[in-house]
């Protein structure tokens, strides 16, 4: 038969466990670069539709009267095993995109806030969001021009972060450096887990 369905027995592919990691930060901080340097696929782009009131149009009710716009989001993938796959989402950091993050950060392992030390204030909104929503995050200072303008201690202070949030340097163009950023985040998420359990 030309159709009639997939035989339940023959389609034995495992359904992998999927894990989300967010990569946030200001415009031009290197989010897509980081996603691209560790992802096994070229970063793909997806879109969300929003109404003029910046609400996620998960419900399309009434869209015919509202002007809608779209927000693009780049994502990548790391297959750890056949049955364990990590998805990386590069998300715009401005406050007006927060509505999207609620959906995105739900169940996420954690977030990387990419900082450009020449424009440190750009990552304030991202930090605010993750602190407020108790999502484990680290700050990675993307030193792509090779120069270090401030010490990590100064940056930590300027961001008024608690000492427990890791602040590290990275070069998002390099796979090994981006990998280390993700490892630091995942280790931090585990440390937070222990802290929550034994506090």
């Amino acid at each position: 038969m030309a159709y009639g369905g997939y035989d339940q027995g023959s389609a034995t592919a495992v359904t992998p466990v999927t894990v989300k990691i967010l990569v946030a930060g200001g415009f031009g901080a290197g989010k897509t670069t980081l996603v691209g340097s560790v992802s096994e696929i070229r970063p793909l782009r997806t879109e969300e539709t929003l109404s003029e009131r910046s609400e996620l149009v998960d419900s399309l009710y009434g869209v015919e009267q509202k002007s809608t716009t779209t927000v693009a989001m780049d994502f990548g993938r790391i297959t750890i095993r056949d049955d364990l796959v990590v998805y990386l989402f590069g998300t715009p950091g401005q406050r007006r995109f927060w509505f999207m993050w609620d959906d995105l950060s739900y169940g996420a392992l954690g977030a990387v806030v990419l900082a450009d030390e020449r424009r440190l204030a750009d990552c304030f909104p991202s930090i605010d969001y993750f602190e407020r929503n108790k999502i484990p995050f680290i700050v990675a200072v993307n030193s792509f021009d090779g120069t270090q303008h401030h010490s990590l201690e100064t940056i930590t202070q300027a961001l008024s972060l608690s000492g427990r949030v890791p602040v590290i340097r990275c070069d998002a163009r390099h796979r090994a450096s981006s990998r280390d950023v993700l490892v630091t985040l995942a280790e931090h998420a585990i440390a937070r887990h222990h802290h929550a359990q034994f506090a």
């Binding site: 998960d58 399309l60 364990l84």
Partner: protein
């Protein structure tokens, strides 16, 4: 004389409104769907099935499980539209949706496996 095709530029917005792709449905049925939930076709598309071209595309792409976000990128459909399409297809028994595990702070074993796996990259 006006050039009739001038209206169809980027600033004019999408020519096909999102709800035109969803058969008039305006929200997904059932529980909230996540970007990394996986969709899998229960049966192949056939001529006997009353499917929209977009739904036929969905069926074709997921004989093995595919995440919503990858389907969205692949089919060039906004996430919101895709969620409505696949929840309708699930209700009609055409696909199954596997919920992603919230590895968040809950599953230490998965977190440790992620760390180990990332280190090996």
């Amino acid at each position: 004389m006006q050039h009739e095709d001038e209206w169809f530029d980027g600033d004019a917005g999408p020519v096909v409104r999102p709800y035109a792709l969803t058969g008039g449905l305006t929200r997904p049925s059932g529980e909230r769907l996540d970007l990394i939930d996986m969709v899998r076709a229960v049966r192949a598309a056939g001529r006997s099935l009353p499917l929209s071209p977009e739904q036929a595309d969905v069926l074709e792409r997921c004989p093995i499980p595919v995440t919503l976000v990858e389907l969205s990128a692949d089919l060039n459909l906004p996430i919101g539209v895709l969620k409505i399409l696949v929840s309708d297809m699930r209700d009609r028994g055409l696909v199954t949706i596997h919920r992603s595990k919230s590895a968040g702070l809950s599953d230490l074993k998965i977190l440790q496996e992620v760390v180990d796996g990332l280190r090996r990259l």
